[in-house]
């Protein structure tokens, strides 16, 4: 108890030195915790969204772009394919389920996805209010969309062409909100869902001008109808080996396997994270050096104090404990600081991530699985840095020190 008190007072007595060490520790611990969190969250998010989708069918182009645009709704779509061409694959005996998607419009940065109710079921969505879209120009909103723009059942809004915040507004074709989804914790929260025919109707009108509205809308047939991508689920793993290759070499369509693309993406991200992690370790090493030097220097200045404590009746073990306590206190402060720092950064990034990447962090304020390890590591580094100064205190020659005053 007495040791703890003296340690605290000693740290506060030399605030500049203590704060420097604390800041270094905080940055190092915060950085490592942040990387751990982002990596864990990214892997979880990517894997969660890709779950159950074995292959994506779309227009030729970059397979990664196809996956990003159709599964994560991040990148621009690769282009459209005709539904007729995709039809044989959607009804292929090896395919268990197929969900067509029609992309291209948005509402203030939130994507409008023309699809079937199967899409909502696939991502485990439940209606919080209202009902599924039944007719053309009815829309079901993800929870974040509804919340952001205060839309209710029966509200009307106009879609915009393209995916940016600015774009041509499809005036005269307002959507009516028929339902709002409960928060699902995945990409569903960030999109607006409507029937395929809504998208077809709007773009058919758009192309053929307003006069032919009725005709174009109702007489469009399968041969002219287009979708952007089709999400497919296979009946057996054999299909995964055969279908994509066959489609890519023999048709005008592109087949991309999400698992492969996501792995590629994560490994790309991984090298960036690797670099950041090295910086984190470097900071940690710097913090350790700083604490080591701080303690060594301050003990050099305080060696009379230590000799005095011995002459007043404190044992060697008590002096060693004092030095280690000072380091451990710094370590604990660093752990707390790092935790707050990493959470602060996440909280600041969160709105941007959600908006731009539909990347919703979950339970980010809770200590992650690796964070206990980081805390332990920080504490260990501090104690290690304090060991040599501590041993010097332990072996201090009190008579010599006192007589050289």
């Amino acid at each position: 108890m007495m040791t703890l008190g003296i340690a605290v007072r000693n740290l506060l007595h030399r605030p500049l030195r203590s704060i420097t060490s604390w800041l270094l520790l905080t940055c190092a611990a915060g950085m490592l915790a942040l990387l751990l969190l982002v990596q864990a969250q990214a892997a979880r998010q990517f894997e969660q969204h890709v779950a159950g989708i074995d292959m994506v069918l779309g227009a030729k182009g970059s397979p990664l772009q196809l996956i990003l645009s159709s599964v994560y709704h991040i990148d621009a779509p690769t282009g459209n394919i005709s539904l007729q061409e995709a039809q044989p694959w959607m009804q292929h005996p090896m395919v268990r389920a197929a969900i067509p998607l029609s992309l291209g419009d948005s509402y203030h940065g939130f994507r409008i996805v023309g699809t079937t109710p199967a899409y909502i079921h696939h991502y485990g969505g439940h209606m919080a209010q209202g009902r599924m879209f039944r007719h053309s120009m009815e829309a079901v909103l993800g929870s974040a969309v509804a919340e952001r723009y205060h839309l209710r059942i029966g509200s009307r809004f106009n879609g915009m062409h393209g995916l940016g915040a600015e774009g041509h507004v499809h005036e005269g074709h307002p959507y009516t909100v028929s339902g709002i989804l409960a928060p699902a914790g995945n990409v569903l929260d960030q999109v607006i869902l409507t029937s395929l025919s809504s998208v077809w109707d709007i773009h058919a009108h758009h192309k053929e001008h307003r006069e032919h509205r009725e005709e174009a809308g109702e007489h469009a047939n399968n041969s002219t109808r287009q979708v952007t991508a089709v999400l497919l689920q296979f009946r057996n793993p054999m299909a995964q080996l055969q279908l994509p290759r066959w489609i890519n070499t023999h048709t005008r369509l592109q087949a991309a396997v999400p698992a492969i693309e996501v792995n590629r993406l994560l490994s790309l991200m991984g090298s960036g994270i690797q670099l950041l992690r090295m910086i984190g370790w470097l900071l940690m090493a710097l913090a350790a050096c700083s604490i080591f030097l701080m303690l060594l220097q301050s003990l050099q200045e305080r060696r009379y104090e230590l000799a005095l404590l011995r002459s007043l009746g404190a044992g060697r073990v008590q002096l060693l404990a004092l030095v280690l306590t000072e380091a451990a206190l710094l370590g604990l402060a660093g752990i707390a600081g790092g935790y707050l720092l990493s959470r602060g950064i996440l909280a600041a990034l969160q709105p941007g991530l959600a908006q731009q990447f539909h990347y919703v962090l979950q339970h980010w304020w809770q200590p992650g699985p690796g964070e206990g390890g980081i805390a332990l590591l920080v504490l260990l580094v501090c104690l290690l840095a304090a060991l040599l100064p501590g041993i010097r205190a332990f072996r201090l020659n009190i008579s010599k020190t006192l007589s050289h005053a």
Binding site: L308, L312, G313, A314, G315
Partner: protein
Amino acid sequence: MLQTTLLQYRYGQRVLTFPPLQCGAGEVLLVTGASGAGKTTLLHLLAGLLLPRAGQVRIGGTVINHLPAAQMDRFRGRHIGIVYQQSHFIAALTVQDNLQLAARLARKPAAATRMEALAHALGIGHLLRQYPARLSQGEQQRVSIARALLPAPPLILADEPTASLDDDNCMAVARLLQQQARQQQAALVIVTHDNRLKTLFHQQTVVLEPQAGLATLPL
């Protein structure tokens, strides 16, 4: 209270020899000698900070030469109060906390009233909440006397307690030291080359003879 036989201490090739000493409870023993006579060495031997090559130091009923390091530290805390030539303090603690720390390390926590009474007697009652670095040398020396006295040890060792003080402060500090030691019935050993003190303590004085080659040693 304090008894020693002929003590020897060895610095490399040189061997220092000290005459036997004796000092009873409530008595004062003044040990003088020129620089290099080994005064500080003797004091550190008496305090158990150094171990003699030959001879015994007996404090109360205990021969301290044979105590292991940890027990020696504890024994010193409980039984010996030391006043140094240069006052050392824990800079991060106030005067009050410095005093209390000494009492706690001696495992004799002092009541606040006792600490205040002692501080008043030594004329530092108004300084208890200050940090030691802010005090003058005379005030610092009084604080170290208070620190040595607070746990009420049976033996007080003072190493040049007045060397850095002017005449007025020298007399005042020396008198206070003697008064308080007598009041607590402690044996007081003062090691000094300060001639001013000889006029004050003429009862018992041991003069250390200059020892061959000692002037060149780093003590």
